[in-house]
């Protein structure tokens, strides 16, 4: 009896979930899967960036004569749920391709799905380099700058000092380990005599900052490499500053300068760290970056985050690819993304490399300071990623044959 009821329920549900899909295709739809609730602080600016780009694209007549539309879906930060949604976007909603994800594991699950089902995925925000290298596939492209490249930029700066003994602190998961590995490899390449005297691995968002600071202090390093972010970073900076850990020690911070992480620190932001980030407040009038910042502030009433930039460029890239393809089938879009040039982005012309499907978005590096009670980056530069990339041979060796 009960088993029967279960089946009734399942079938009824299945049938009820079969709405009419046969609406006339008035818009070109793109699926967007993200952790809108679980990582709201990062996903919301990203979404607003997309919405800004869409409003501009559609005001200019859209793509292929139709409006471009994004279907936003929440995956709860769960890779399996994300794959299910991707399936629905593909088979029911008629999305021509899909994008999204901040978490690397969700990105990897989506990338594997894309390759199996021959459905195009633009990995907008995931940081894991394995997406385009070791686990790369022809149906996955990535926009955000790679961890390897950002770590290499910091290593280059670190090699200029006479610091020999380094301590590292990174969240205890794949991104943290990759980021430390990339920094170590690059720094040793430039300066073989460096040694790493302490490696700390706090659990993500569960840092015991006092203990971590004590452990690093105990190793007496000359310099520190930081990968923690979010609440972990706030606690680490507080304890480290109070206990004098950063006095007289250069600190290199991956992502520390991104507004997502620097802004909440207010006047307690660390000073004098060399970091990667997004110094939107320093853009000069007349530059494409400034134009984007102004448009974003007018559109949302908020200041931009790095996620806003990535979201904006995601929509721009997709619009450019559809326009270039002149069609919306997966193979045409995939060929369009190979070597795609996206013009008029906030960083100028963006390019998708044919060799590994990675975009040429670079990174800003600079030194942190506190101005008017707020943490900012000063003396910053925008760096092209090309010189920091592994060589083409190395990439071909890592990447499975397409």
């Amino acid at each position: 009896m009960n088993l029967m009821r279960r089946t009734v329920l399942a079938t009824a549900a299945a049938l009820a979930l079969t709405p009419a899909t046969a609406f006339a295709q008035e818009t070109i739809k793109v699926g967007e899967i993200n952790h809108y609730k679980r990582l709201a602080a990062f996903a919301e600016p990203y979404r607003k960036g997309i919405e800004l780009a869409l409003s501009e694209i559609n005001a200019d007549g859209g793509v292929l004569g139709k409006d471009l539309e994004f279907i936003f879906r929440d995956d709860q930060g769960d890779p399996a749920e994300a794959v299910k949604i991707a399936e629905e976007l593909m088979t029911r909603d008629g999305a021509v391709m899909f994008t999204g994800s901040i978490l690397s594991n969700v990105g990897l699950a989506l990338s594997s799905f894309a390759n199996e089902k021959k459905y195009l995925y633009l990995a907008s925000e995931p940081l894991a380099d394995t997406l385009v290298w070791k686990s790369g596939n022809p149906y996955t492209f990535r926009l955000r700058v790679s961890t390897w490249v950002q770590a290499a930029m910091l290593a280059e700066e670190a090699a200029k000092t006479d610091a020999i003994k380094y301590a590292t602190i990174a969240p205890n998961y794949a991104y943290g380990t990759d980021a430390v590995e990339a920094f170590k490899t690059n720094l040793k390449m430039l300066k073989p005599e460096v040694e790493f005297v302490a490696e700390q691995w706090p659990a993500l968002f569960k840092i015991d900052a006092g203990a971590e600071v004590q452990a690093i202090e105990r190793a007496k390093p000359d310099a520190i490499y930081n990968v923690t972010f979010g609440t972990d970073l706030a606690k680490f900076v507080r304890q480290g500053t109070d206990r004098g850990l950063f006095d007289g020690r250069p600190v290199y911070g991956l992502l520390t300068g991104e507004p997502e992480y620097l802004e909440p620190l207010e006047d307690e932001a660390p000073e004098g760290w060399f970091v990667t980030g997004f110094p939107w407040y320093g853009f000069e009038d007349g530059t494409p970056g400034k134009t984007f910042v102004d448009a974003y502030e007018a559109f949302t009433g908020e200041t931009p985050k790095i996620g806003s930039l990535v979201g904006y460029m995601t929509a721009q890239s997709i619009a450019a690819a559809i326009t270039k393809a002149g069609a919306t089938d997966t193979e045409a879009l995939r060929m369009a993304f190979e070597g795609l040039e996206v013009e008029n982005t906030p960083i100028g012309t963006l390019h998708y490399r044919e060799i590994d499907n990675q975009s040429t978005l670079g990174a800003w590096t600079g030194t942190t300071a506190v101005e008017d009670g707020k943490g900012v980056m000063v003396d910053w530069t925008y760096n092209d990623p090309a010189p920091y990339m592994p060589s083409d041979e190395e990439i071909l060796e890592m990447r499975p044959a397409d």
Partner: protein, 618 residues
Amino acid sequence: MAFFFAQFLTGLANAAALFLVASGLSLIFGVTRIVNFAHGSFYMLGAFIGVVLMDLLPGHVGFWGAILLTGLAVGLIGALVEMVVLRPIYRAPELFQLVATFGVILVIQDLALMIWGAEDRLGPRAPGLRGVWRIFGEPVPKYDIVLIAITPVILFALWYLIARTRLGVLVRAATQDREMVGALGVNQAWLFTGVFALGSALAGLGGALQLPKGGADLLMDFNIIGAVFVVVVIGGMGSLPGAFIASVLISVLNVFGVTYLPQSTLVLMYVVMAVVLIVRPYGLLGREEVAGEHGQVGAPETPIRPYGPKGMALVAVLLALLALLPVFAEPFVLTLVVDMVVFALFAASLHFILGSGGLVSFGHAAFFGGGAYAAALLVYHTGTPMELAFLFAPLAAGLLALGIGWFCIRLTGVYFAMLTLAFSQLVWSLAFQWRSVTRGDDGLVNIWPAEWLSGDITYYYFALAFGIGGILVLRHVIHAPFGYALRAGRDSPRQAEATGIDVKRVQFAAFALAGAMAGLAGGIFVFSKGSVFPTELEIAKSFDALIVVFLGGVKTLAGGVVGAGFMTVVEDWLVRLEYWRLLLGLVIIAVVILMPEGIVGTLRTLWRRIRHSDEEAV
């Protein structure tokens, strides 16, 4: 030496907030027997309310006043939650209330996001307590010293309240025998509300007190709950001094772990908990649970019977309908049904040990994810054909269950649940940190079915055959002599022993079978999604299954399956909406209040009532 001492102080300071939150949870459990998963949410509320109040109230008085007011405010919220959500369901089956508290978590998460926005808040500094004092030359933050001084005061105040006041006498009496306290004329409802409010207030205080060391963010509820449960269990559920000792123990060990074993941060406390529970099954200061204490409330249950011929025929017809589904349904519906079948089998396997065996496992995801990983690892590393790897999933999960069960089965009740949780965390951390084999949280990708199975429709039939097959096997076992022995052991271990049933052994075997079936579900899962990540082994996954089993109805045959179907569909609808967590939380709370016997149980009761009145009319 000075360094050791400074480390010790760091540990003690960390223990302060942890102890406050844990003591609240322990009190609530001791008196009301509610395993309150929402306790972390009260901690989070405390942090956010604290930030707001500290902004409004300036200076020394403002800071400390804000902390006290926060405690009061969160206490009131706790009282409200208790009266609205929990009071109607005290007579539901044991542990049923944890489902309601799960709904509360979801509601509070979305409300907090609505009210305070997504961005992290940095906690205000305590006035005059910025910077460090030097102790033997080592810097120690001033606020740490204050926290270290406050904790014993709070412990003493709580001890005084419990040991020396009339309220304390009532609370202790209720901890020992709440029926008796009720019989003696004490208004239980208000006692429960009061204790729940006090416990919530303590959590809120903890959230506000930690502000100068951290801040407020939307993930802190889940981030602390694991540690809090570990502390309460190590200390002994319901014991305040135990909670104190355990929070100091865990915090100090953590500090040393960070220094000497920096990679250990993920699992250290679970290892400690497993060791403590294996050596002392009721925690450091806990007392043995009296059998039947949380057990049957309300009327004794009618034994489950197999369906009659009519029921069987209907099931067959509906299975046939499912089999015909690909003819008229679009591809996505098939995907959804595959998900449903996977989840249903997973839930049914938990329901099997929980409903028929009376063993509440908080770590069942270890077997689901374990099975998925077993198959995926074979494919990934050795290129094993999919068919073989698939069969390996239930086998490996069953073996894993044998291993874990060997340690756990000797425990009972909440302690059994917590030990399974500890082991599932160990399995999770293995998958998470052993990157050379499991690729860590980069997961194992490209685990797709064999060529001949890779079509949507073929895989649908494959999943249907194994999923429904697994459910039917479990159903069959429940009605076999083995199932009767298992149920006898659940209802009356002593009588079962007296009739010659080796209760522990039967439970052990049932645990292994449930593990294998969860592994089978994991196997179907991994080849339908093409990848597996440590998320499949997380606590949250175990709780998903637990919640649908309770929602469906523990004391019914199809509870797990119906609950899983219900949840899959409701979730699939709701997540399309902006505030889906709020709505899902409210749906869960509504189901819990309206259907205290679970969906199937309540429908069954209704059906009987209708039939009964019909007969009378005739």
